[in-house]
Subunit: 90 residues, 2 copies
DNA sequence: ACGTTATGCAAGCGGATTCTTGCGTGTCAA
DNA sequence: TTGACACGCAAGAATCCGCTTGCATAACGT
């Protein structure tokens, strides 16, 4: 549970989630280039790879290997616990 | 926006939000003693005071001074943006 | 088989965070 | 007015995070 909040605490990781929300099932290289093109991020491949590890441990990203590629898919179910923990009033 | 996630990244701060969700409008001393009694936390008064500052900057806690007391109330409206940013499927 | 491509692993550096420590300020009660 | 109480401020130490750097591994094309 703590992993989810720590994962969301970094702006680069939140942008990665945005990118995966737009286009699901991307490889690391796709994510790197699209982050640079569309979101103006200049992070290196290794940095983004480490961010994806954090997101995967938090359960916000699931992965699937095919050959030498690793595809990443968004999983927002851990976010449900946030809303259930502290009810939102109007 | 980033302040909200950073505030939620710390387990002590999340416990403070839990405590304020149970019993709203508490002073710093009330929060300190109830965190120790009911949640088993051993943080000092200054540490909790700094945590409350972080939560207030994030907009998750609002405060009101009366005399020498400062009352803290929970505000969950910043959490709405989280759910709206990445839609939750079933 | 060989080079290229996509990714993994791990040590180290710099900056941010958390907590402590000590003192300062304003408020209340007697 | 005096002392006790609730809280604020700020500097230092220890720890944590994100990033870089360099090398390693495995799959694909030719």
């Amino acid at each position: 549970m703590s992993d989810v909040f720590k994962a969301l605490a970094d702006p680069t990781r939140r942008t990665i989630l945005d990118e995966l929300a737009e286009r699901d099932s991307q490889t690391l290289f796709e994510i790197c280039s699209r982050l640079a093109m569309r979101h103006g991020l200049t992070s290196s491949r290794q940095a983004i790879s480490q961010h994806l590890d954090v997101l995967e441990v938090a359960g916000l990203v699931r992965t699937e290997r095919r050959g030498r590629n690793k595809f990443h898919v968004l999983d927002t179910t851990p976010l449900r616990a946030i809303v259930e923990r502290w009810p939102i009033h109007d």
